[in-house]
Amino acid sequence: MSDDVQDIVGDYRYGFHDPEDATIRFDKGLSEQVVRDISELKNEPEWMTDIRVKAYRHFAERAMPDWGNCQMLNAIDFDAITYFLRSSKGTENDWEDVPEAIKNTFDRLGIPDAEQKWLGGVTAQYESEAVYHSIREDLEQQGVLFFDMDSGLREHPEIIKKYFCSIVPYTDNKFAALNTAVWSGGSFIYVPKGVHVEMPIQAYFRINSKNMGQFERTLIIADEGSSIHYIEGCTAPTYSTESLHSAVVELIAMEGASIRYSTVQNWSVNVYNLVTKRGIAYKNATIEWVDGNIGSKLTMKYPAVILKGEGAHAEIISVAYSGAGQHQDAGAKIHHLASNTTSRILSKSICKNGGRSSYRGLLRVSPKARNCRSKIVCDALVLDSNSQSDTYPTMEVGNSSADLEHEASVSKVSGDQLFYLMCRGHSEDEAMGLIVNGFFEPFTRELPMEYAVELNRLLQLEMEGSIG
């Protein structure tokens, strides 16, 4: 790692990397042939190959998104990226069978430990494919399907064919097209009617190689009256060259179902994180996105919910932390298409050392959707004068029966707060860490405790040495 990279990332504790022992590595760059090769390698049905190729063609012609940080986006060199990399012969169900180097990585990240303690199932993806996968027997017996996406396509092509691209079509944006063309890995979950998955199911995504592109694709279907909590975590080593993570997530919550999707993204600061996440909620269904963005160079992510059925509810809670050289452009999109639908957006961001945090949100109420309610709260905490926080809220309200609230605040840490905590024995950095953790508390309390503790610890690390 070069010195200037070290300067930027400080003590990024997931910055280690393993030797790159790929069993299959595609040449850098993207072409229609690369897309076909990926599909062929995976032995996919023809319809999937077709979607990939169409998506690739769309990607090639599609302009960059014209919102967000275009300057940073245009710096991405698509020809310098490896689009597919296989590191293991297959997906193992027994931790002991995972290749040693990869196993060590996930051990260091604490994955197997978490699985034993509090998870209903886990999948670990390394580069392009899942290397480990397990699900608790009782869930399997209840008919819960949980696969890495590639296995899901082999085992249940009929379900995937029905829903794939139904919520996020490849024409949605350039990066959704890219993902659809070259997707690999991700999770596929189906929860049968009335089944409540009590323990969270977790996926862990790790990029190890330089200039790697990770394009996982996730599809979760919660059938009528069922519920599930899915959690994902992400890290990558710190290289001086950039990697690209461009995922697509589609959620379908049938009548009365609820899906909670939690993410703590802690990519190293050389990763572009450009993700399209969208869910559809039918009658009386609930979709919650709990989204934490700590790492990456540039994140552009706006989890969306389409409130399609009457009485549906959406909740999008996000936090963003931006340090030196980082831009977190995050937000939320909610489409109230049916009457009596409700939504809540809570966005909290912190920036320091020249970092930039933006909230970019869209709230739409269709003319036919009556008596919709929505509350949006955006709070920003700016820790020094060379950091930047901005808010871009958009509201399109089609009728006057909607009840909408929007609150936004930008604050600084007061000298009195720091002094108070220092008088209780906390150093200035520790005091700042406490205040920052407190600021994020409305978010962390939504996470399982183990995650919340880890997040607080990460933030505390970010605060160390932050005050000169």
Partner: protein, 248 residues
């Protein structure tokens, strides 16, 4: 002989370039209770803040020693870890930080390896909260967020009892309390170990009905104009400060 805790010699302090404390000397030994009485603006709170090292308050002349060490050598948190404690007149709100969490973290910071383990801490916490008539629901509330005046002061005293300081500085801890709350707070202060030194800053005599001072100092315009025993507090209550202003 009791050990010296705090020694101030002809201390001068300014805030934003304005002289507030204009030469005070004070010696506090282990176990002594000192009260500083004075009207608003006399410099009482400035003294509390400068002793803890608030960055806005500058010592411009004179000397200040804590346990024989120059105060200037210690950062704010180091003073706290060395046993200095300030009960704030206006405690800060820390949104999102739960009281219980802060208490545990502060005790660990201040007491280091000698801190109680988690179970002992809970027992001690329960005992002290009972003494201060605090409900356990306090622990999950955010620090001072939406607290009444009395609740804030109780939390300050609770922190003092848990941190077991060697020098407790109480800045207007009695202000804004009704008589019942005052008694509770006073009982808390009185339950401190006998070797604790304290510096009670107050407007009124009434807290001193419950917490007996060994020494009383009357402060006017940044100086101690008169020092004496507990009887001075009663005189000040009765006669006000005018007779001292004449003397000054």
């Amino acid at each position: 002989m009791a050990e010296e805790v705090l020694r101030l010699t002809d201390l001068h302090v300014s805030v934003e370039g304005i002289d507030i404390i204009k030469g005070i000397s004070l010696l506090i030994k282990q176990g002594e209770v000192h009260a500083i009485m004075g009207r608003n603006g006399s410099g009482k709170s400035t003294l509390a803040n400068v002793l803890m090292g608030h960055p806005d308050y500058k010592i411009t002349a004179g000397e200040a020693y804590y346990q024989g060490k120059p105060l200037a050598d210690l950062k704010v948190h180091e003073r706290a870890r060395a046993g200095m404690f300030l009960s704030f007149q206006y405690p800060s709100v820390i949104p999102g930080v739960q009281v219980g969490n802060l208490l545990r973290k502060s005790v660990t910071s201040v007491q280091g390896e000698s801190a109680l383990n988690a179970r002992e801490f809970r027992t001690e916490l329960k005992r002290q909260m009972a003494l201060l008539s605090m409900d356990k629901s306090f622990l999950t509330r955010y620090v001072n967020d939406g607290f009444s005046g009395g609740e804030k002061k109780r939390l300050e005293v609770l922190q003092m009892l848990l941190l077991q300081p060697k020098l407790a500085i109480l800045d207007e801890t009695d202000s804004g309390l009704d008589i019942d709350a005052l008694k509770v707070v006073a009982a808390g202060i009185n339950s401190m170990p006998s070797e604790t030194a304290s510096l009670i800053i107050t407007h009124y005599q009434r807290l001193l009905d419950h917490v007996k001072p060994d020494f009383v100092h009357a402060m006017i315009d940044g100086k101690f104009v008169k020092s004496g025993g507990p009887e001075l507090a009663l005189q000040l209550e009765e006669k006000g400060y005018e007779w001292l202003e004449v003397a000054a």
